[in-house]
Symmetry: C2
DNA sequence: CTCATTGTAAATCATGTTATTACAATGAGT
DNA sequence: ACTCATTGTAATAACATGATTTACAATGAG
């Protein structure tokens, strides 16, 4: 069990936009070939990132660009842009109300798990697009 | 996108076993009625918890009991017992190797996310079955 | 006006989770 | 030794969700 493609795809999109800014026009088709995924998914994800105020997309002419600096874009923003705001775990909705465990499990376990999720979001908030861009560049240098 | 039932179900099973120890025989059918889920899933989950050394199950006669004290059983153990050991996020397996972002994304993003996952597991390690049992009991008292 | 591109809907495919049925194996109680 | 409720497990079906694909109207620079 793991989270879907969505956040990693969004990260890769943003990295490409940052990396190829001014070099290539970052159309959905161009981005799709980097991620190796269908262009429609890129366009959908780009729409979510636009709604979150992270990118601008040029309808008609094509291409996308960052609205904020890479050092100002965190993984938390990206995560929130593409994932629903919901609990980390799916807790059974209809436990037995006759059972003292069943009738309290949602609240009790939910409380604990929401703290864990907040920690995770805080971790995400500490990671910026600039960090990742930097790691990419370092990895590229080590290639030679 | 969220994690499945599995861990919450396992937690509820263990809480019931702890709570009803010596009062009721905790068979898969009994536990299934608290969680309101199919008994086969209970048996499967119980098998995973047994393999993890958290419970003993009496084949034939029926019923399960904890092998360790509730204060010694952490959410991390329960999580590991029922979930695969895999990355938090699904990162595209076949990115474009021609693209400097595509050919490094797995390593770069994977590194960052594995740190986050470890934090999450550490958080789980700090939550014990005894904590949850305590919260359940408090909630029950506040009912009256 | 043209044309590459975006935005979006709809249909399909793939995968994973949960539910259900079925039945051999178990083992305490008689 | 027999009984019987129960476990362990396999196999299958039902369902939900994510990802893919096709299609096409809307966009807007040139």
């Amino acid at each position: 069990m793991q989270f879907s493609f969505r956040m990693p795809v969004a990260v890769q999109i943003l990295l490409c936009i940052a990396k190829f800014d001014g070099v290539f026009k970052t159309t959905s088709t161009f981005l799709a070939s980097s991620v190796n995924i269908n262009p429609v998914i890129i366009r959908k994800t780009l729409g979510q990132l636009k709604a979150a105020g992270l990118v601008e997309v040029a309808a008609g002419v094509g291409g996308a660009r960052l609205v904020k600096e890479p050092c100002e874009i965190t993984l938390q923003e990206i995560f929130n842009a593409v994932e629903e705001d919901e609990d980390l775990f799916h807790i059974q909705e209809n436990p037995n109300p006759q059972c003292p465990v069943g009738r309290n499990i949602q609240q009790v376990l939910g409380n604990k798990l929401s703290v864990v999720k907040n920690h995770m979001l805080n971790d995400f908030a500490k990671i910026t697009l600039a960090d990742l861009l930097n790691d990419i560049n370092t990895a590229e240098q080590n290639r030679q």
